[in-house]
């Protein structure tokens, strides 16, 4: 099959802090020029790309994508995924190298780009559609289909500022889903919207892929990468680490993440999340994995232990440590302490100690979570409380051993089914 995207030795150099630098002003430039007329000159001539102020967001990236292929691009934050997509979609220019493309490209780095709150849903379909590169005639032809896909019915004549966020996203995605480019570039856009609609979109994108359209797909959501792609590219620090089958690349990525993020221990003595008026009694929190090694990434259903150290003036009497688990969106999922749960019911504890909470099988689905930690000397009153003291990541895993990874919920319910007739 023909190669439709050919990237050779691509590099993009960014200047750190340039946004701030540019935001200051013409005045500064004039003052600078008056103060030191030669500095600007030397800077222009000099080998200014060697300085600390510059960094390569991408360096020496080469790749080929064949017609009809769905290529996943994965990597940690700052690995250069978005930069790569921005270069291929021509939003910004490369510093080095070249990209050759055959066919009409549509890029979807965001849903609802250009939506105007004052305009109605219908008007925004036209606006967003033509921003995404559809012709007016094309939009008119697909209009009814888009409205139906978005499931917003009679709200089509309402300004989108009155839409719920769900409706807004559905409309935005409906427009995007009806693009018919030869090459589709999709950034993490599915992170928004409710679960059932996400599924519908994934399905629609799957159809797109089966129609022989070429898709570049960036996501942090490994199950959807697994679902949609056959081949993946792993980026790290702006360079291609690996290009291979999806399974293999995801495995390597997970491994890398688990290792790199094994940040030892969270110090709590001066944690900014401490509520006002609290006594700083909590000292440190960390998590260990099944083998007792310190981690802050765990697989779904994995064995972990949370350790909390405290130190206080005088006796701790009956120390009670509470752990409150929250999603990054702030929904509380679990709360546990050593009074409600069995184990360490201590009396007359010394002024320093550690309480550990062993979780044999972590009942959380993939994602990032925060733990809010509390401390009390007795059952009466919390004397220390740190909001979002610790953050950890849960990686997808085949917890049921069926090959299906549960998603779209918060917890994992360990159940087995039987059938009777």
């Amino acid at each position: 099959m023909t190669t439709v995207i050919k990237v050779e030795n691509l590099g993009k150099l960014y200047q750190l802090g340039i946004k701030q630098a540019m935001r200051d002003s013409l005045r500064d430039v004039i003052v600078d020029a008056l103060k030191s007329p030669f500095r600007r000159f030397t800077r222009l001539r000099g080998k200014d790309t060697d300085g600390d102020d510059f960094f390569w967001a991408l360096e020496g990236v080469s790749l080929e994508v064949r017609e009809g292929e769905v290529l996943g691009i994965i990597g940690r934050n700052g690995a250069g995924k978005s930069t790569l997509l921005k270069l291929i979609s021509r939003i910004t220019e490369p510093t080095r190298g070249s990209i050759k493309i055959r066919g009409r490209v549509s890029s979807l780095l965001e849903v609802g780009t250009g939506f105007h709150p004052e305009l109605t849903g219908g008007e925004n379909i036209y606006l967003n559609g033509s921003i995404l590169g559809m012709s007016r005639a094309e939009i008119s032809r697909k209009y009814d289909e888009i409205v139906e896909f978005a499931e917003i019915g009679r709200f089509i004549d309402t300004p989108v500022k009155r839409y719920s966020s769900g409706m807004y996203v559905r409309l935005a995605f409906a427009v995007a889903a009806h693009l018919e480019p030869e090459i589709l570039i999709v950034d993490e856009v599915l992170a928004v919207g409710d679960a059932s609609f996400q599924k519908k979109c994934l399905k629609k994108m799957g159809t797109v892929a089966r129609e022989g359209r070429t898709v570049l797909f960036v996501s942090h959501n490994m199950p959807s990468v697994q679902n949609l792609t056959t081949r993946c590219l792993l980026l790290e620090k702006g360079q291609v680490v690996m290009t291979a089958g999806t399974e293999e690349v995801i495995k390597k990525y997970m491994n890398d993440v688990a290792q790199a993020d094994a940040q030892p221990v969270m110090e709590l003595a001066e944690h900014p999340g401490r509520l006002a008026g609290m006594t700083p009694a909590l000292r440190r929190i960390w998590m260990t994995g099944g083998e007792g090694n310190i981690v802050n990434v765990a697989p779904m259903g994995g064995e972990v232990t949370f350790h909390v150290e405290y130190e206080i003036d005088g006796t701790a009497r009956q120390p009670i440590v509470g752990l409150i688990f929250e999603t990054i969106h702030g929904s509380r999922i679990y709360g546990i302490n050593n009074k409600v749960a069995p184990g360490a019911q201590v009396t007359d504890a010394p002024s320093r100690g550690m309480l550990s909470c062993h979780v044999p099988s972590l009942p959380l689905i993939a994602g990032d979570y925060f733990i809010t930690v509390t401390f009390a000397r007795s059952a009466e009153r919390d004397i220390d409380w740190i909001e979002r003291a610790y953050r950890f990541t849960v990686m997808p895993a085949d917890v049921y051993g069926t090959g299906h990874i549960p998603r779209d919920c918060l917890g994992i319910l360990y159940g087995e089914w039987t059938f009777s007739a």
Partner: protein, 275 residues
């Protein structure tokens, strides 16, 4: 080479690059859609709607007629001062709004620039749409005012569409230059209204060119808007066109366009990185 089947090649381009007019033409629908959005939004947000477009030159006319027309008694080429001044304020407001709007346009579409590709020139050009719309509305008031003073336009009024095009071209050069400059230096945005304000007084809008001493007129003729405003009055009131000054204005406008486009093309490469 086997690479010949690719139709887009993206590479770093050094130095000056010419405008890809064919690509710009391909994006004409986006231009219209953005202009249509501006008009639509403006008329949805303001209760006054169309009245707002008229208000600006009309209020100017009333104030200048009272102070300059009646009190100071500024000459007005043998026309009633309100007619004279409205005929100046009308194209001036159009020009000033075009330049002001275009200057801010790139910054105000930052979210588009950082998320999607299209020729960036689409944005300043599209910003002219709503200004043109306002101009057309306030142009009808011109005829009402003229009718009130029993002045009737002759055949020369048919020149007006050409002058509108000319105004747009002048605003295009200056507007694209400022729009790019505003992205690079954020404080320029605050200077532009001041420049436009001062520019108005340096242009024979509220006074006739005839009160400028003859030996200084060449300075005025360097201002492309001066010849333009004069030409609007010629078209409306059937006074002979000053072809020399129109020619000079046009030539200077073209120079501005070349400078504006060259700077814009150079600066636009960095828009997405610094916006």
């Amino acid at each position: 080479m086997e690479d010949s089947h690719f139709d887009t090649v993206i590479e770093s381009k050094q130095g000056w690059s010419p405008v890809d007019w064919r690509e710009l033409w391909r994006f004409r629908e986006l231009m219209f859609t953005l202009a249509w959005r501006d008009i639509k939004v403006r008329y949805k947000q303001t209760v006054l709607g169309a009245a707002w477009a008229i208000f600006q030159p009309f209020a100017g006319m009333v104030i200048f007629s009272v102070f300059l027309g009646s009190f100071v008694k500024v000459p007005s080429d043998n026309l009633p001062y309100p007619v004279f001044v409205y005929a100046g304020l009308l194209p001036w407001t159009f020009f000033a709004n075009c330049v002001g709007g275009a200057s801010n346009s790139i910054l105000s579409e930052a979210h588009l620039i950082s998320k999607i590709y299209f020729p960036r020139l689409v944005i300043p050009i599209a910003s002219f749409g709503s200004k043109l719309f306002d101009f057309i509305i306030s142009f009808f008031i011109m005829f009402l005012i003229m009718a009130y003073y029993r002045i009737f336009p002759g055949a020369s009024a048919l020149m007006t569409p050409l002058l509108v095009l000319f105004t747009l071209l002048t605003a295009f050069g200056i507007g694209t230059f400022f729009s790019a400059l505003c992205v690079t230096y954020r404080d320029v945005r605050y200077i532009i209204p001041v420049i436009i304000q001062l520019w108005m007084y340096a242009t024979p809008v509220v006074y006739p060119l005839s009160i400028v001493p003859a030996r200084y007129r060449w300075i005025i003729s360097l201002n492309p808007v001066a010849g333009l405003i004069d030409a609007y009055r010629s078209a409306l009131f059937g006074k002979p066109f000053d072809w020399r000054s129109i020619g000079t204005s046009l030539a200077i406008s073209l120079v501005f366009i070349v400078i504006g486009l060259a700077y814009f093309r150079k600066a636009e490469k960095r828009f997405a990185d610094i916006i």
